[in-house]
């Protein structure tokens, strides 16, 4: 496989559109941070992720350009076309990085160096000579080879990769895997590749198995469980021909979501898909997009934008070397149809699994079923309990809606004076129900200012039930909260009661009007 890598492509594209001179130090910014910088800027100390002020401090002549992703896609389009003229079936990962299988073309060009020459002649003048080409087995090894500008002979990719650090994998979204390997003492890809494949697959699932194959330099066709069924191909028809990219992308959004969810429903995630765009006059542009990691619907929409941006508003190729621009390249009518065709899929459950236990397949199944139930019944119908801080048992149980991130409002580990000791009542009454807690005179039990029960409780009843005798009781646990704010102040007292039937209850009395307390049932020790 051959990979064409244009380093710092955002800089090259921005420079092409803004016309900055070739040898000036240039940096592209998003949200005031450096996204990419030219080699000249890097040599004086500008780095990715740096803030603008610091970058300008290090390089006072720095040319500051904003990032324009549509321009990057547009400028890369002729590069892709040029590569396609040399090798068929180009797969684009993102503007700046494209790969193609080259077993046939190598024979045609009589050797790898002949192929590289041809690619260079096609592409070099388009990218202002700022591109590198590498050949190796498998797209991962080829990308590493491109960064070094090397040709790795067939079969030697494993040796080539062996000395790379495992952190190379973190760029592909395997940060947890990398962290775990480093903690286990494995620091090179060679060491990772030496682990038995079965064990790696068992521990880390399909994603880890993919990373293991890459580290071993094997051909990276992902582990395909089955061919994606034809129903996964989604076609979008636009009512009127559209030649504005953002309108097409907007209309295709829901189709992109259907595409992804259709695959997910079969337990698949797309690693490579073809996007076919058709115009009213029958012109067609088909491009393959390869995406390491999990492909989401917004990613699909991004690729629609990149492909159409390049096609509809593609830059006319400038003069000098290479072929003249073919006027037939630009479409003559608006887009009427888009088709998403999955080409390679990997099983989902490509989530990282921890070494000791972890969600695994059972968790995936449960997640999907609970999401379905929540869709059926509505948001908030499925909840997961969590422990929260607080003084009352109701406060200490938080029900988090399924799928939402749990946000802890009160720290559970703090002392919370006034809270009842364990064991906690197993059943909570939410909201608390009115109850009758009566002393021997038949009056609601009162608690004095000093926190002492004036007359002990003799009978207890919930709602309209007849009160039953109380055989033992304990308390009171007074809680006097927010006395400084009359609006939210609360003075409550809690009692534990056991009735003649042996059942235990937790009742709470509102003492804000001490002469006329109101009692509620808060929990049952069922």
């Amino acid at each position: 496989m051959a990979t064409v890598w244009c380093p710092d492509w955002p800089v090259t594209a921005a420079r092409m559109t803004s016309g900055a001179p070739g040898d000036a130090p240039v940096a592209v910014f998003t949200a005031n941070h450096v996204v990419a910088c030219s080699a000249v800027a890097r040599s004086v100390g500008v780095r990715r992720g740096m803030r603008r002020r610091e970058a300008q401090y290090r390089c006072p002549d720095l040319v500051v350009l904003p990032r324009d992703e549509t321009a990057e896609a547009r400028c890369f389009e002729p590069v892709i076309t040029a590569v396609e003229s040399v090798v068929p079936a180009v797969e684009v990962t993102r503007p700046g990085l494209a790969a193609a299988g080259v077993r046939g073309p190598i024979r045609r060009f009589e050797g790898e160096s002949g192929l590289i020459d041809a690619l260079w002649r096609a592409v070099g003048w388009l990218t202002e000579d700022a591109c590198q080409i590498g050949i190796a087995d498998g797209s991962f090894a080829a990308e590493q080879a491109a960064r070094l500008g090397r040709i790795v002979p067939a079969g030697e990719s494993a040796d080539f990769l062996a000395n790379f650090p495992v952190s190379t994998l973190s760029a592909f979204g395997h940060a947890e895997l990398v962290d775990l390997l480093q903690r286990l003492g494995i620091h090179t890809l060679g060491g990772f590749a030496a682990l038995p494949a079965k064990d790696v697959s068992m521990r880390f699932g399909p994603a880890g198995a993919w990373a293991h194959r890459q580290a071993g330099g094997r051909d990276d066709r992902p582990i395909v469980v089955r061919e994606p069924p034809p129903e996964c191909t989604i076609t979008v028809e636009l009512d009127t021909p559209v030649d504005r990219v953002d309108v097409v992308a907007f209309s295709a959004r829901s189709a992109a979501e259907r595409f992804i969810s259709g695959l997910a429903a079969r337990g698949l995630s797309c690693a490579c898909f073809e996007l076919e765009a058709f115009t009213d006059n029958g012109e067609q542009l088909t491009r393959r997009w390869r995406h390491p990691g999990v492909l989401t619907a917004p990613d699909v929409v991004d690729r629609i934008r990149w492909q159409l941006e390049g096609w509809l508003h593609g830059m006319a190729a400038r003069g000098g070397g290479g072929t003249d621009p073919d006027p037939g390249d630009r479409p003559t009518a608006g887009i009427t149809r888009l088709r998403f065709v999955p080409v390679e899929t990997v099983p989902t459950g490509a989530h990282q699994q921890s070494l000791w236990g972890g969600a695994g397949e059972a968790g995936e199944r449960a997640h999907r079923a609970l999401a379905r139930v929540q869709t059926m019944l509505g948001l908030g119908s499925v909840v997961v309990p969590a422990i929260e801080g607080g003084r009352s048992p109701l406060d200490r149980t938080q029900l988090v809606p399924w799928g939402e991130e749990r946000v802890s409002v009160r720290e559970p580990a703090r002392p919370w004076p006034g809270r009842l000791p364990s064991p906690a009542p197993s059943v909570l009454i939410d909201p608390p129900r009115p109850a009758k807690v009566l002393d021997e005179g038949g009056q609601p039990v009162r608690v004095s200012d000093r926190g002492a029960v004036v007359r002990p409780p003799r009978c207890f009843g919930v709602g309209n039930e007849a009160p039953v005798a109380v055989t033992s009781w304990a308390g009171p646990w007074p809680v006097d909260e927010r006395w400084w704010d009359p609006a939210t102040a609360s003075r409550v007292v809690r009692l534990q009661l056991v009735d003649v039937r042996g059942r235990a209850y937790l009742v709470v009395g509102d003492m804000s009007a001490p002469a006329a307390p109101t009692w509620h049932l808060e929990g049952v020790y069922d």
């Binding site: 059972a362 199944r365 609970l370 364990s422 064991p423 056991v498 020790y525």
Partner: protein, 221 residues
């Protein structure tokens, strides 16, 4: 590298290797072994009545070891009580109000979750009961209908009930609820046909479950 390989293979988690069911029974707490000597057998229906704490204690060991337990139509349950008895809260989803979709929700969860607990509504068609039982058997889940009031579940494999209940540690205006002694009994069909019962501390002072004889009475403070 050989050490890492052996480490990886020796800590194999069977749940990630084989498809469900991974093991024919789910474990239960040792205190409950006298009434459930084989644990919770997958594909069986275990009807529980009398105590929510007993229900939580039945789920505790399985949940702690990785099983997903879903509660349908149950009253609000204290997260502290569940955690104290040993349940892993992140694997305890609850659907408190299934409404009219009770049968559909329970069916969907039986397909995907290891243990489904559901409070049985007052009126349930016999056909639905039979279909759910068949689905439970074929999917290898454990179904635990929670019976309150006059509800009944005719074809349960095991019926577990809690009776009695005397709290200790609490007096007339002093002390507090510390631990409760209850009697748990089980009968049913097949291997559970012989009635068994055992006395337990449920909950203990720390919210767990213990056999009755082993723990001395805590001093009243």
């Amino acid at each position: 590298m050989a050490d890492v390989a052996t480490l990886l293979s020796s800590t194999a988690n069977p749940a990630t290797v084989a498809p469900r069911p991974t093991a024919p029974t789910l474990p239960v707490s040792p205190a409950l072994a006298p009434v459930l000597p084989d644990g919770l057998r997958r594909g069986s229906t275990v009807a529980v009545s009398g105590s929510v704490s007993l229900l939580l204690a039945l789920l505790a060991t399985a949940s702690d070891e990785g099983a997903w337990c879903a509660l349908v139509g149950m009253p609000p349950i204290s997260a502290e009580a569940a955690q104290d008895v040993g349940i892993e809260l992140s694997r305890l989803p609850m659907v408190p109000h299934p409404g009219e979709n009770w049968v559909v929700v329970v069916g969907a969860l039986i397909d995907a979750v290891d243990v489904v607990v559901a409070r049985v509504p007052a009126r349930l068609a016999d056909g639905d009961i039979r279909r759910l039982a068949a689905r439970v058997r074929s999917r290898g889940a454990v179904f635990m209908p929670f019976l309150t009031g006059r509800a009944h579940w005719p074809h349960a494999d095991v019926r577990i009930a809690a009776e009695g209940g005397s709290w200790s540690g609490i007096g007339l205006g002093y002390g507090r609820l510390r631990q409760r002694q209850i009697t748990v009994s089980a009968n049913g069909r097949g291997s559970a046909a012989r009635p068994r019962s055992t006395a337990l501390w449920l909950p203990t002072a720390s919210g767990g479950i213990e056999p009755y004889l082993s723990q001395p009475l805590a001093a009243v403070v």
